[in-house]
């Protein structure tokens, strides 16, 4: 039940990975908060210890990246956050179908419909995540709209809060201007430091940035260029 926000829900660890879909946000009327229970169960949970989500794919779209990560890191819990209802629903169905077709697999992945720009702190504790993904985010070209970009100097504060020391933020885009923007935001942020080229080569996830998500595949098909920025939380001095 990875949502905190009302007193009753708040400090529950993000443990109920039974579900493929995390519960929706509470509505602002405090009276009709609902806790939704799910039927699916997660074998990873039965050991008794509480596992936390460690990967978050922000604006996960149709979920291609999550599906790849799920089998690459079968012991890690991961969640996709997506704003659009129908797309979220699609990802949910997709995960359920995969679980049905491959018993025992894909139990570690889930999706939630939420506005990540507003609700990140409701889903994650401080230092909980070890990887955050921002793949081909919406570019918002106009200067006036830059503050709506999902990577921005101020939002990076929140991502830094959710990530643990050494935790990595992966960004990629096919829009050069946005690529520059994301890199500059990360470069100028005092809590992040770049991951070196060597480390990138050794990281199996990096390849997926280009090939795993639906948007990534589209760009690759069209032979489009991509701009990548991968940073991590620097350890405090």
């Amino acid at each position: 039940m990875p949502f905190r926000g009302s007193s009753s829900l708040r400090r529950h660890p993000l443990r109920c990975f039974e579900s493929v879909v995390a519960p929706p946000l509470f509505r602002s009327s405090g009276t009709n908060r609902s806790i939704i229970r799910y039927a699916h169960s997660n074998p990873l949970n039965h050991s008794g210890d509480v596992k936390k989500i460690e990967f978050a794919d922000i604006g996960c779209g149709f979920g291609g990246l999550l599906i790849c990560l799920s089998t690459l890191f079968p012991q890690k819990l991961m969640i996709g956050m997506e704003l659009r209802d129908k797309v979220t629903e699609y990802v949910k169905e997709r995960i359920l179908a995969l679980r049905a077709a491959h018993p025992g697999q894909y139990q570690n992945v889930s999706v939630v419909r939420t506005n990540s720009m507003k609700y990140i702190p409701n889903y994650f504790d401080k230092g909980q995540l070890c990887k955050m993904f921002f793949l081909f985010p919406d570019p918002h070209f106009k200067e006036k709209n830059h503050r709506r970009r999902v990577i921005s100097p101020h939002l990076l504060d929140e991502y830094a809060y959710a990530l643990q020391v050494g935790g990595v933020i992966y960004t990629i885009t096919d829009v050069e201007e946005l690529g520059d923007w994301m890199k500059t935001c990360l470069e100028n942020h005092p809590l992040f430091e770049p991951v070196t080229e060597e480390e990138l080569k050794a990281d199996p996830v990096v390849e997926l940035l280009h090939s795993a998500s639906e948007e990534g595949q589209k760009v690759a098909r069209n032979g489009g260029q991509t701009y990548r920025a991968v940073y991590r939380i620097a350890s405090p001095m």
Partner: protein, 466 residues
């Protein structure tokens, strides 16, 4: 039909989209305004442009050592010197020193040397709280919703209507020199939510910001905040409605203190500042006979000595007193004290750290029915607001006008020359306006269906022109 703008609204906007946002690789900006437009953001812009009906509630601030009291109502800032028992005239140099639009936030610094006022005219004015000279006027890009002064009195921080918190260095503010201009830099932001209050932890390590969604953010306040305040210490999450007010309580056993917050969900909550853990929740609505949430919203908190908390509630003409036990991390309702025979609800509370007085003001700007002055403000003072052991009955009692420090002279100044008698006459009519002002201030704007449609169309038009 009334509809509150929430996530729900956003959801419908999104489902209409059907497919993933179209985005040309050549950098054309297709459909952007429509897909990603945040309701709250739209509303903020709307508010920037369209504000005929806005009424600002009256505010009060008391000097930490009882040197003076300030009341702000509309663009009017009224100060009375309690030590010398004289009215302060802020206009003696030039009209330029004054505010030009509704004041939304006033604050003394912890040591009582400075005073800040700010609001809809996008000006942040920093005053010497002794001479009442305006030391600096800072221009904000947007209207200002909250202000605070850092514990070391080196920085003024203020929040604008777009959720950005700015810092201004007070370094080099020459108390002798005339008013100078200072530049503010953005240090942190709440994404697309109006910040309702700003405060600092008692040790000055953290700046605390609360917003109109439900969030309270605790951020490390660096030695040099002009490079930004990036390190989030905690989020205090638990309010299910907007957070309207903050107060920090501490004592010698707990010098780092605890945070109190009040909100639209009619609760007062106690938090561990370091971890953001919720320590105690005190439901206040039913205590004053208002079970209906929107009427029982907490609008202000005042807790100068950590054992008593005064709470202002949106539709309650009086004060609710809470007991507070810092070591037990507990809050509980002591009693409700109503203004006898009154319908006006307090719009703001104040108290010094030393005295045993609780100051309240009730009032609004731009009140058309009120001829004598368009700004109404009524100041009332309770005695007996003192440190208790938390169990005894607190003897809060309303002072008569002549018993108030500074007496009639003070009231005449702070009430803008209108006598308490005159105010009584119009108070029935004003009561609704006061309540409406408090509601408008905090509730997200409600739009009719037609209005929403109109806004949508307008956005589309803009898009087509390009």
């Amino acid at each position: 039909m009334e509809e509150i703008e929430t996530e729900e609204k956003e959801e419908t906007q999104i489902t209409n989209e059907g497919s993933m946002q179209e985005r040309g690789t050549n950098g054309t900006d297709v459909e952007e305004g429509e897909t990603m437009r945040e309701p709250e953001e739209t509303q903020m812009e709307e508010r920037e442009n369209n504000r005929e009906m806005e009424v600002a509630p009256a505010l009060i601030a008391v000097h930490p050592f009882d040197k003076s009291v300030a009341v702000a109502v509309g663009s009017d800032l009224r100060v009375f010197d309690l030590a010398r028992k004289i009215s302060i005239s802020l206009a003696d140099d030039s009209r330029d020193l004054l505010h030009k639009d509704c004041i939304r936030a006033v604050r003394f610094s912890g040591r009582g040397q400075l005073f800040v006022s700010a609001g809809d005219d996008k000006l942040v004015k920093i005053w010497d709280a002794d001479t009442w000279k305006c030391l600096a006027t800072v221009n904000s890009e947007k209207r200002v919703s909250a202000v605070s002064i850092s514990k070391n009195e080196l920085f003024v921080c203020f929040a604008d209507k777009f959720g950005v918190v700015w810092a201004v260095s007070l370094d080099g503010l020459n108390k002798i020199q005339a008013s100078c201009n200072k530049k503010a830099v953005p240090i942190l932001a709440h994404y697309c939510s109006i910040i309702t209050c700003l405060d600092f932890s008692p040790d000055g390590r953290f700046i605390i910001s609360a917003d109109r969604d439900f969030k309270i953010r605790v951020t490390v306040f660096p030695e040099n905040p002009l490079n930004g305040a990036h390190e989030i210490q905690s989020f205090c999450l638990g309010h299910s409605e907007y957070v309207s007010s903050l107060a920090v309580v501490h004592n010698s056993d707990y010098p780092q203190g605890f945070l109190l917050s009040g909100g639209g969900d009619s609760t007062v909550r106690m938090w561990d500042i370091n971890s953001g853990s919720l320590l105690c929740t005190c439901e206040v609505g039913t205590e004053v006979g208002l079970s209906n949430e929107p009427h029982a919203a907490v609008t202000d908190l005042c807790a100068p000595h950590g054992t008593l908390v005064a709470v202002a509630i949106q539709s309650f003409p009086g004060i609710l007193l809470l007991g507070c036990d810092i070591s037990a991390k507990a809050l509980w309702v002591l009693k409700a004290v109503s203004f006898p025979g009154e319908t006006l609800v307090p719009t703001s509370l104040g108290a010094s750290s030393s005295a045993e007085l609780l100051w309240t003001v009730t009032g609004v700007s731009n009140l058309p029915e009120f001829k004598a002055s368009s700004c109404l403000s009524r100041v009332r003072v309770f005695s007996g607001f003192k440190k208790t052991d938390g169990t005894i009955n607190s003897e809060l009692s309303l002072l008569l006008d002549r018993e108030v420090p500074g007496g009639e002279k003070l009231l005449e100044k702070l009430q803008g020359g209108v006598s308490s008698k005159e105010i009584e006459v119009i108070s029935a009519a004003a009561a609704d306006a006061v309540r409406a002002a408090m509601r408008d201030l905090l509730l997200k704007k409600q739009y009719t269906e037609e209005r929403r449609e109109f806004r949508k169309r307008r956005r589309n038009d803009r898009k087509l022109k390009r």
